[in-house]
């Protein structure tokens, strides 16, 4: 029964996407623009620096992975926002649908939509800028997996925040990726950061991915154990995110916020 109920959430999102220009275009438009922009920047940097470093896999590859993470996170939040915008919580949560089934629906919807963005980015970066994924080797798979898990965790936490503090909180959700970008070292090594920022970096799974990319590209050995830390952290955050969402939902049911969500607060 769980799979069927989860599929209802996914089907609802598919119905919304189908034929909705304003929902489909953002799946690939912004990531495509990012790839083109950073592709040209990488190409330009290759011509003006004498370091011998190829910026295409270093910068463009990092941007691709980071955009994938953002698409995953926003895939979860966008599916959730559809219920916020259509004031659908009462309809959904007065059914046998469980929180696990609902969140699984958000995750599956996000997986499908983020895959669209990833495919577009892979095609553009390889055809236009010659980005070869062979340079990352098999590590590309765990890199993507860690970012995927972290994106899911952050997406669910963001949903909890909106559920707890009301629809207007949506505007705090969009800048979250930008806020953590400096800490995860998408464009530079973590060692560039001051110590206090490095401590925060160690708590973010994405940091291990971008450090790993740079080590592989500079020909150094990258320990799988290091990436395991990142993966472990991401899994821990998923469990934590699920727990936070469940607690937030329980609070909303106890206070009556679910039934009167459009009021934003009960005071």
């Amino acid at each position: 029964m769980g799979m069927v109920r989860t599929s209802a959430i996914v089907l609802r999102y598919y119905y919304l996407m189908r034929g909705s220009f304003s929902r489909v275009v953002p799946l690939f438009a912004w990531v495509a623009i990012d790839i083109v922009l950073w592709g040209f920047i990488s190409r330009y940097l290759n011509t003006v620096t004498s370091s011998g470093l190829n910026f295409v896999p270093t910068l463009l590859g990092a941007v691709l992975l980071w955009d994938f993470f953002i698409r995953v996170m926003q895939g979860v939040t966008m599916t959730f926002f559809e219920d916020v915008w259509s004031r659908n919580f009462l309809n959904f949560f007065a059914t046998p649908l469980s929180i696990g089934e609902y969140l699984s629906g958000l995750v599956v919807s996000s997986t499908l939509t983020s895959m669209v963005g990833l495919i577009v980015m892979l095609v553009l970066s390889s055809t236009l800028f010659g980005l070869s994924f062979a340079v990352y080797g098999l590590m590309l798979v765990p890199f993507l997996l860690v970012l995927f898990l972290f994106g899911i965790a952050l997406g669910i936490m963001a949903c909890s925040m909106v559920l707890r503090f009301g629809p207007a909180t949506e505007w705090f959700i969009w800048p979250i990726p930008a806020l953590i970008t400096p800490f995860v070292g998408v464009f530079y090594p973590i060692s560039t950061l001051p110590h206090w920022m490095q401590h925060i970096s160690k708590l973010l799974p994405a940091s291990y991915v971008f450090e790993g990319i740079r080590m592989i590209l500079s020909g150094k050995t990258f320990s799988g154990v290091t990436l395991l830390w990142g993966g472990g952290l991401a899994l821990l955050y998923i469990v934590l995110a699920f727990w936070i969402f469940s607690r937030t939902y329980r609070h909303a049911v106890r206070t009556g916020l679910i039934a009167r969500y459009s009021a934003e607060t009960l005071s």
Binding site: V4, R87, A94, P96, V253
Partner: protein, 254 residues
């Protein structure tokens, strides 16, 4: 219907309480609904009707008391209990950005309805929604939206149907039509209905029993046709006004 069916409770609410801070919204409310019975939950605005319904739907947690839908306790067996219930309320329209059929399919999947396509066709036919099947719910008239909400409310053939002012936005002809369908729902199947309305003529026509709520308590309970006379009032509306204005002058519910 046979006697054993009639005596089986579809809904049992026992000592239900809900406070919002210092405000008592629902105060030790106890009642039940039997098979094929339509029970009217009446009372002035703010009496606790919607709070009670929200607790039965599991979207609001009670401070104390128990809710059982058939043999399933809502707190300990939420999915099983809610699988047997459904609702329609004017304040909970279906998503306006999905079509009628899409909404019915999504909710049909959530309730695990078997032969869903056939069930949807039957509901579209029953509620005269065939011509609107591919219309987004947000552009339907309020009467049409109510019909879609009711179609969704019975898609899982619920044993307990909660209707919060289902005819409030309908013209008299459509309201009559809807009342007929709800009456049919209780006579043809084995469901019971909890109905809130401010239309006392409608309540008298539809309900087998009414509960008058005031300040979160059940003040009166009985047959809507005989209850006014039992309390020295000519009509149900007169009784309603008395409950709203002078609740202390009426006998408390025992």
């Amino acid at each position: 219907m046979n006697d054993s069916n009639m005596t089986t409770n579809i809904l049992s609410v026992t000592n239900l309480c809900k406070n919002y801070g210092d405000m008592v919204a629902v105060d030790h409310v106890t009642f039940d609904i039997k098979r094929n019975e339509i029970v009217g939950l009446l009372g002035p605005n703010g009496a606790g009707k919607t709070t009670t319904i929200n607790m039965i739907l599991g979207v609001l947690e009670s401070d104390s008391g128990t809710i059982d839908i058939e043999e399933w306790n809502l707190k300990t067996h939420r999915p099983e209990a809610l699988d047997r219930a459904n609702f329609a309320a004017v304040y909970a329209p279906l998503p306006g950005n999905l079509t009628v059929t899409q909404n019915l399919r999504v909710f049909g999947l959530i309730y695990g309805v078997k032969n869903l396509s056939e069930r949807i066709e039957s509901l579209l036919n029953q509620f005269e929604l065939e011509t609107h099947r591919n219309t987004k719910c947000g552009v339907l008239s309020s009467g049409e939206q109510t019909r879609v909400s009711l179609a969704k409310a019975i898609i899982n053939r619920p044993h307990l149907l909660l209707l919060d002012e289902p005819t409030v936005s309908l013209d008299p002809s459509m309201a009559h039509d809807i009342r007929t369908r709800i009456r049919q729902f209780t006579t043809d199947g084995e469901g019971g209905v909890l109905w809130t309305s401010h239309n006392m003529v409608e309540v008298e026509e539809m309900c087998d029993r009414v509960l008058f709520l005031s300040h979160g308590k059940i003040l009166l309970e009985g047959n809507p046709k005989t209850l006014p006379a039992e309390h020295g009032k000519k009509t149900l509306e007169e009784l309603f006004i008395a409950v709203a204005r002078e609740p202390l002058s009426l006998e408390p519910h025992s």
